[in-house]
Amino acid sequence: MEPFENDELSQSELDGMLRQWQSPPAPAHLRDAVFPPRAPWWRRVWAVGIPLPVACAALALIGVAAWRIPRPAAAPPPPRAPQVVVRTERVEVPVEHERVVTRYIYRQEPSHELTFQELKPVAELRPRIIRRNDAQH
């Protein structure tokens, strides 16, 4: 059976049919493929890509440089640093004991002259009669 020969869809019918063709959604992992999540720095260091010829050339250069660097011929060994040994010794040292000399120094007080005001009359007069030793005689 030849279906609907010489038949055509109207513009609106065509629009309706076109809308029924859906495309699948974009996969979620597409973003990670375009923008890969950043690895930690220590993984990025190891992930640095170096072309093999560059790596080989660098190794060869390092080897040649190490071979060509002049080495000091029979250089005397560097003086050893003096070893510090802590030793404790007991040393007897004669000690002179100080002599303590005690001296008494008397100093005469400066003369003190009595003033007239210091002379006060006694409150009770007690006269004492002192006999002379030769009074018997």
């Binding site: 279906p3 513009q11 019918e13 629009d15 495309s23 597409l30």
Partner: protein, 165 residues
């Protein structure tokens, strides 16, 4: 616009366009990835005076799709008709499958005009920017594509495959 923002905004349109042009999800995925990697690696190649980010990305996608098309169909196949749609509706009972097959029978240049205009909402002027053709040519391709689809899809109209409803 940063590439991340452009991705969030346009990756569905690019993927959808690539899928409808190639009808292969894996190829559409590769095309979408290449589009945005091109934007990430060479952002200076985008010239805002020549179009929007969307048209720039769709133009990259178009070039990749057409390269894929030439690789599989040959260099001069862009203007040729696609594979013939089977007249037997029993092989395509779903309307969506029938539409997909009918679009596939269109020449590649008509396909891209139709898909960009009908499905991605791109204007005729923008399609002209994407394809490098003038607007009149795009309009003509779109008209011819729709005329062919009106005839090709007539057996699949809503009243039923065999016209019994």
């Amino acid at each position: 616009m940063k590439p991340e923002d452009a991705f969030d905004k346009y990756h569905r349109a690019v993927f959808s366009f690539a899928y409808r042009m190639t009808r292969r999800a894996d190829t559409a995925e590769d095309v979408t990835q290449e589009c945005f990697l091109a934007l990430v690696r060479h952002p200076e190649r985008f010239d805002s005076t020549r179009g929007t980010v969307k048209t720039y990305l769709l133009a990259i996608a178009r070039n990749l799709v057409l390269k894929n098309y030439r690789d599989t169909h040959g260099e001069d196949a862009l203007e040729d008709d696609g594979p013939t749609l089977s007249a037997d509706p029993r092989r395509a009972l779903e309307v969506s499958f029938a539409v997909e097959r009918a679009v596939a029978t269109l020449p590649a240049l008509q396909q891209e005009a139709l898909i960009l205009f009908e499905y991605e909402g791109v204007s005729l002027e923008e399609i002209a920017q994407i394809t490098g053709a003038d607007t009149g040519t795009i309009k003509s391709r779109l008209h011819r594509a729709r005329e062919r689809l009106r005839r090709a899809l007539a057996p699949f109209r809503v009243r039923g495959i065999h016209g019994t409803v």
